[in-house]
Symmetry: C2
Subunit: 325 residues, 2 copies
């Protein structure tokens, strides 16, 4: 069995990278280890206690550390696994993308947006800390993502710049924030399947795709260097991003609050256009499975050595489609 | 008279850099040209019309283009002038720092923060576009700043990384967002002069200092390379940041709405701690002048050639203290 080396942080005395063989792990064990690593990285970069602005740091930590599946960091690490990426760079990329995801949830939950009170089974950040502090915590988490990507040393400056570029383009008007805007204006109106795909490719898809490409970038892969690998991973990232949202829409209809960790049925209540409202539940389920197959097929286009190392990405495609929350 | 060459964009056909002699210009003319250049850069990077997400782009453009003195871009260009910085890099740094400033104003004006309806004589972004879109426009402007700093070509990757690092550290919990948090928690309570200085060094000062250091970075100046220059410009940036806030507090008391372009008297109304409330008006005015002198004295520590090229920074110190809005 191939032995992949990834850094590991589950050591008592901190975060130094310790190589472990992960191929021997089941997917569940691999995921748990890397979710724990994501948690450790967040605790390192977003400490709960900070003497100078304690309220802000507490709110930032609450928002970032409250859990979740850490799908985006897992995608960074899994993509990095394919391309023998620098473990330190991967850790920073994984953390940065999760910080951007965390900030987007905080702002998305605000009363002027989705006005949600429950997230991952906990009170949302503005319910716990007030709106002003939630707003600022979100803003500061976004800035922190770029701090994490630009350390004084330990990460090649050209890679720092590349990671910042990927993250910024996925987060802004052409990515996540643009998709959220389309979502707002779609609420209440009839939206076609194509429009939905267009909106979600930005709202959710852009950051998921960026996670894959940031992992690839940590192994030196971009559009001109190892183009075949880049194209395969880009396609995987695009398709998996779409699948994620389709399943999100399905779960909003089928899951209960305890399983989902947030208020279900919000989409219908807010008259939101979803894949379920556009296609019906059965067709949405079929679409999710088709997309999973397409994502896995994209990985078949990787060069042989990388294809052999793409197991975690394949398993993540399964996770994204088969998850229950 | 020494002839400094800076790029210039006031050409019909776009933004290509055209060298002009600027030493012959009065400060007023230099400032006007560079304010126009800031406006042109914003129109380039934040176009008002965009086919895909028109509402978001319109709100982003409104927030970024509505005017203002462009003090931060002016500081970038003036600092770059001292160190013979790359004009293209300076333009991107100047634009990025203004985008972060613009996003902070949009979020600061929201009902859950200062709840202000007037900014630069115009309705604030949320009054004009609604709260949700204002929130997203601010978020997208922050991301756009990092997009502007990380172009595919034309800017050395190491400089891209350095500029992102400076901007992120100045914007986040240790900078602007942290200062805004301290400001919220200071409202209503008695705050000492030291606490005020601590708060403002983050809230306003961090981004103003970063503007100076980003200009310096575009000329290859950092803490280890040209350390004497770095230290002098860093001190200048810190002192000027403080002076800016002291004068802001004075103007909140002394200026009328038409001159100020925003609602005056808000500080007292919200029972905010300001330099005027802490020191009294006369002492605050004396402090502003002392800080102007200190900022200009810091520039005397520059190596001779750079000292000779620091005229615009000296004039900006005057502008910041003597401005009436």
């Amino acid at each position: 069995m191939r032995t992949t080396i990834v850094s590991e942080v589950l050591h008592r005395n901190g975060l130094q990278a310790v190589p472990i063989a992960t191929d021997a792990l089941t997917f569940g064990a691999w995921m748990e280890r890397h979710q724990a690593k994501a948690q450790a990285l967040i605790t390192r970069f977003v400490p709960q206690h900070h003497p100078l602005v304690p309220q802000l740091h507490e709110a930032m930590h609450y928002a970032a550390a409250m859990g979740g599946k850490r799908v985006r960091p897992l995608l960074v690490w899994a993509a990095g696994d394919c391309v023998q990426a620098d473990p330190q760079a991967l850790d920073r990329a994984a953390c940065a993308v999760e910080l951007v995801h965390a900030y987007s949830l905080v702002h998305d939950d605000l009363p002027c947006m989705d006005d949600d009170v429950l997230r991952r089974g906990q009170p949302t950040t503005h319910v716990r800390f007030g709106e002003a502090l939630a707003l600022l915590a979100g803003d500061a988490l976004q800035a922190l993502a770029y701090e994490v990507l630009t350390p004084d040393d330990g990460l090649a400056p050209a890679l720092q710049a590349r990671l910042c570029a990927l993250l910024a383009r996925a987060s802004g008007a052409d990515g996540m924030a643009g998709g959220q805007t389309l979502d707002i204006f779609a609420t209440g109106g009839a939206v076609s399947g194509d429009d939905l795909m267009h909106m979600h490719s930005r709202k959710t898809g852009a950051l998921l795709k960026a996670s894959v490409l940031m992992g690839a970038a940590c192994g030196g892969v971009n559009a001109t260097h190892q183009a075949q690998t880049f194209t395969a991973l880009q396609t995987y990232g695009e398709v998996i991003g779409l699948a994620f949202q389709v399943v999100d829409d399905i779960l909003d209809v089928t899951a209960d609050s305890a399983t989902l960790g947030k208020t279900p049925g919000k989409d219908a209540q807010q008259n939101k256009s979803t894949y379920v409202s556009a296609l019906g539940l059965d067709a949405a389920r079929a679409l999710a499975h088709t997309l999973r197959d397409k994502a896995q097929a994209a990985l078949d286009a990787l060069p042989p050595a990388q294809r052999a190392a793409s197991q975690r990405l394949r398993e993540l495609a399964d996770l994204i489609v088969l998850r229950e929350h």
